[in-house]
């Protein structure tokens, strides 16, 4: 190779790069114009991306999917309303049979009609052990599901399960598409076809999901014709892109949402949630297993300070899995922050302060480890605040960070800063958290809580459909939790969303711990009506 040819190559590379750079720079101004946006489209920023869009693998299990419908759906107040069923189910007197009558005018987005066969297929496939569905346990009560003709589906349960109707918000998959492929890895897991208000037009993993309105939606075509969910994992980038006008709305942590407070063109929505943070107090640890210690910690902790300082006001104190503003909350079970009271309880139980201020009883030092998920700032802050409150009462808590792999084997004896919460029915959280037979079953009943009164009340609560009896049962559970708290519940956390102020009447649903795609003010984007202002461009 001569010097001449090297020069030639270099020149060619340079020319190529310049051409590319020039091509890349054409038309640079056009994004700026997009900030106003045509009024029939919306772009929102989300932090988490679903792994799959197949209902058979768990997508849309809590209802409110944009692509699919369930037999029933939740309204803004989390009350059940009919969706693919024409009315709420008929429940047999023994609570074991649920009968649904289906709509007749519904088609999937590929034009095929929706029938009872699709419902049966969806539930049977989920219950099949070969299907890799991690939420299968939620349908544990189902014994069998059968179609009667084209428009009736009958579920038969193994045991009476009062909140079962709330499980039937589960998204329904089309049998004629999904049954023809591998349920775990087939194309349907990423290219779904459903009956919902939106049709998925593209899913570029790691970047965005795009939807267009389903013009033949049975409940009326949505006004927002195009809807895009941009996947932006980093909180700061999401806030920046929102500010740049690239996004119309986004979920933000409290500190970043605060930056938009004075923004005239945007509004902040705080969604009430069932999302709690709690400390497990394992029965199998000599200190946390002592009811006196549990009760003392329960009142030694300053929940309001956590809400004010850690959550910047976006949340409320929690005394159990049920939020204080839920209709299921047992009034009067709130606990006041009472350090003196806590010290008195410990004194009376024989926990006497040692030389270093930490209490000791029968040679056992009042100390235990508290694990939190590493990298989760919110949990870390909660854990540190809890440890500092406990220290004032003479209990020494050593906080430690770890991944679930590290934490899980220790859950039987070590305390964990846990989170969870699913709205809908009080059974969903309480049964899994408190039932003694579920102790150590996966992540259920992490604290190995064991209380016969609570066990009985939990069974009563799910076996009867009588509202008054159910209320009494869950009141009992909450009062028992005040007497013998197996967990120290700390806060319920609001989820914050900042959205352009160009749509009217936005609302939020009560949200679960999970940030699903359906969370946020766009839970009902199909019902959004654009306001007339700002309807320029395009």
């Amino acid at each position: 190779m001569t010097a001449r040819s090297i020069r030639g190559t270099a020149a060619a590379i340079l020319a190529g790069a310049l051409a590319l750079a020039a091509a890349a720079c054409t038309n640079p101004g056009s994004t700026a114009g997009a900030s106003g946006g045509p009024k029939d489209s919306a772009v929102v920023g989300i932090a988490y991306e679903p792994e799959t869009l197949s209902p058979l693998l768990g997508y849309g299990k809590d209802g409110n999917s944009k692509i699919f419908d369930g037999l029933l759906a939740f309204d803004a107040d989390m009350k059940l309303k009919p969706a693919l069923a024409v009315k709420l189910p008929h429940v047999s007197a023994d609570g074991l049979t649920y009968t649904y009558t289906l709509r007749e005018d519904v088609t999937f987005s590929d034009g095929a009609p929706f029938t009872a066969k699709d419902v049966v297929y969806t539930y049977r496939t989920i219950l099949d052990p070969k299907t890799n569905n991690a939420s299968r346990t939620e349908l544990d009560a189902v014994k069998k599901v059968e179609a009667v003709g084209d428009d009736t589906v009958v579920f038969t349960l193994k045991y009476p399960y009062a909140p079962f109707a709330e499980r039937t918000v589960h998204a329904i998959a089309p049998e004629h598409v999904a049954a023809k492929q591998d349920v775990n890895t087939g194309a349907f897991t990423t290219k779904p076809i459903g009956t919902g208000p939106y049709v998925l037009t593209g899913w570029s993993k790691g970047e965005k999901l795009s939807f267009k309105a389903n013009p033949t939606y049975w409940d009326g075509a949505p006004a927002v014709k195009k809807f895009t969910m941009a996947v932006v994992k980093d909180d700061d980038v999401r806030a920046t892109r929102l500010r740049a006008g690239d996004l119309d709305g986004a979920i933000l942590p409290p500190n970043l949402a605060a930056g938009f407070k004075d923004d005239k063109g945007r509004k902040t929505y705080a969604a009430k949630t069932y999302d709690y943070r709690t400390v497990t107090l394992p029965t199998h640890h000599p200190v946390t297993g002592d009811t006196a210690v549990r009760r003392a910690l329960d009142i030694a902790v300053d929940r309001q300070a956590m809400v004010d300082k850690i959550l910047e006001g976006a949340g409320k104190p929690a005394y159990g899995p049920v939020p204080t503003d839920s209709p299921w909350f047992a009034k009067g079970t709130e606990r006041r922050h009472d350090l003196a009271g806590a010290q008195k309880i410990l004194d009376e139980a024989g926990w006497k302060p040692g030389p270093d201020g930490i209490r000791v009883k029968n040679g056992v030092r009042a100390e235990f480890p508290l694990w939190y998920l590493s990298g989760d700032k919110l949990r870390q802050d909660h854990a540190l605040a809890y440890a500092s409150d406990a220290k004032k009462a003479g209990v020494d808590i050593r906080t430690q960070a770890g991944t679930w792999e590290v934490i899980e084997p220790r859950m039987k004896t070590d305390a964990v800063l846990a989170g969870g919460g699913s709205p809908g029915d009080p059974d969903f959280d309480q049964y899994l958290l408190l039932k003694s037979t579920l102790a150590g079953d996966g992540f259920n009943n992490m604290a190995w809580y064991d209380n016969t009164t609570v066990d009985r009340a939990l069974e009563d609560g799910r076996r009867t459909n009588e509202p008054a009896e159910r209320r009494a049962a869950y009141d009992t559970v909450q009062r028992e939790l005040a007497k013998n708290p197996g967990y120290t519940f700390l806060t319920h956390i609001d989820h914050l969303y900042v959205v352009d102020d160009s749509w009217g009447g936005l609302s939020t649903q009560t949200e679960p711990h999970d940030h699903g795609l359906a969370s946020g003010p766009w839970w009902n984007v199909e019902a959004w009506k654009p306001t007339s202002t700002g309807a320029a461009q395009k």
């Binding site: 190779m1 001569t2 010097a3 090297i6 020069r7 270099a10 340079l14 190529g16 790069a17 590319l20 750079a21 890349a24 720079c25 054409t26 038309n27 101004g29 994004t31 700026a32 997009a34 946006g37 792994e51 799959t52 693998l57 052990p129 890799n132 991690a134 939420s135 299968r136 346990t137 591998d182 775990n184 890895t185 990423t190 593209g202 570029s204 993993k205 790691g206 970047e207 965005k208 267009k212 895009t228 941009a230 932006v232 994992k233 980093d234 980038v237 920046t240 892109r241 740049a244 006008g245 690239d246 991944t403 679930w404 792999e405 899994l432 079953d441 996966g442 992540f443 259920n444 999970d514």
Partner: protein, 330 residues
């Protein structure tokens, strides 16, 4: 005089390297399986995600069996290897799709980003390096050199945030992320080109200091060498001296650099893709690793290893071409 390219020697070297790559790739895939199996991460928990936090043990055990996560390490590796040889790369548990699909869908975008960034780094780095090397200690040299040292220390992630803030937020001239306009469904060349500018420049700029510093040093040294001084003494024009003598020997070290920067480029792309929501393969790699998604992880590692080996081969070939004394012996 025209000299023919030594095709035969080049082909032989390529062949030898390809043969040597086989045991390397085998060892790497086995290492991936071994490390992943020894890691504290649990593939079942990763697969279940938040649903796993309320799943019963029975449900989780069933998942473990379905995913084959209860198989011993050797069995899993052998099964993966034998089916990979026949072209079946298996199914990715984290993406819920066949591995081949996941890779074909994303690889192109990563390659586009990395190649563009690489060109930017090489071209700008060389250009600035030559200019700075010509007048070492000059104004341009001092300015660019100190900038290069600063850039060397600056994380690509931070550069990305800075670029978004300045070009997307303050100036509003370039999109802040994604492959196409967020509200758009169709992937057009114009949109991709515009969205490519920031990530490619950030990635390119983060690689630039190495090329710049190498070329600057090489050119500067070459200008002090005897042949150059001789050329100058013979009264050749400065431009001829620079391009004909100094640049040629000054560029040599950079050719090796091209190969050795490939791994760095891959890790840099990872961060840049995350910041700019670029739908490339990098994000999938992280997910595959933390989810112990064996099939995807193994396929991606083979790809990355192959890219590094290929990078080294290319830089050795170029070096051999540029300096016949080195030859093609590998």
């Amino acid at each position: 005089m025209k000299r023919r390219l030594p095709w035969g020697a080049m082909a032989r070297m390529t062949g030898r390297r390809a043969l040597a790559a086989v045991p390397v790739l085998l060892a790497v895939t086995f290492a991936v399986f071994a490390v992943a199996a020894a890691s504290p991460f649990d593939p079942v928990k990763a697969y279940a995600g938040t649903a796993g936090l309320t799943a019963s043990q029975e449900n989780l055990d069933q998942l473990r069996a379905n995913l084959g996560a209860d198989q011993p390490l050797l069995t899993r590796w052998w099964e993966w290897l034998t089916s990979a040889v026949t072209g079946d790369l298996g199914d990715s548990s984290v993406m819920r799709r066949p591995v081949a699909e996941v890779i074909t869908e994303r690889l192109g975008w990563s390659v586009l980003l990395a190649v563009t960034a690489f060109l930017i780094a090489i071209v700008l780095g060389t250009l600035l390096g030559v200019l700075a090397g010509r007048r070492r200690g000059g104004l341009l040299d001092r300015a660019v050199s100190s900038a290069a040292y600063t850039l060397e220390a600056a994380p690509a992630f931070w550069l990305g945030l800075l670029a978004i803030w300045f070009f997307a937020l303050e100036l509003g001239v370039l999109p802040a992320g994604g492959l196409t306009d967020t509200a758009s469904d169709t992937v057009t060349a114009g949109q991709v080109a515009r969205h490519l500018v920031l990530p490619a420049f950030v990635l390119g700029i983060s690689q630039l200091p190495w090329f710049f510093l190498y070329v600057r040093q090489g050119v500067g040294d070459a200008l002090d060498e005897d042949p150059v001084r001789g050329a100058r003494a013979r009264g050749l024009r400065e431009r001829t001296v620079l391009t004909g003598h100094a640049l040629r020997s000054g560029m040599l070290p950079m050719l090796t650099l091209v190969g050795s920067r490939v791994p760095e480029l891959i890790t840099g792309a990872l961060l840049v893709e995350t910041v700019f929501s670029w739908p490339g393969i990098a994000a999938a790699t992280v997910q595959a690793a933390t989810s112990v998604d064996f099939p995807l992880l193994a396929a991606l590692t083979v790809l990355a290893t192959a890219a590094v080996l290929l990078g080294n081969l290319v830089s050795d070939l170029l070096y051999g071409l540029a300096d016949p004394r080195v030859g093609f012996d590998g």
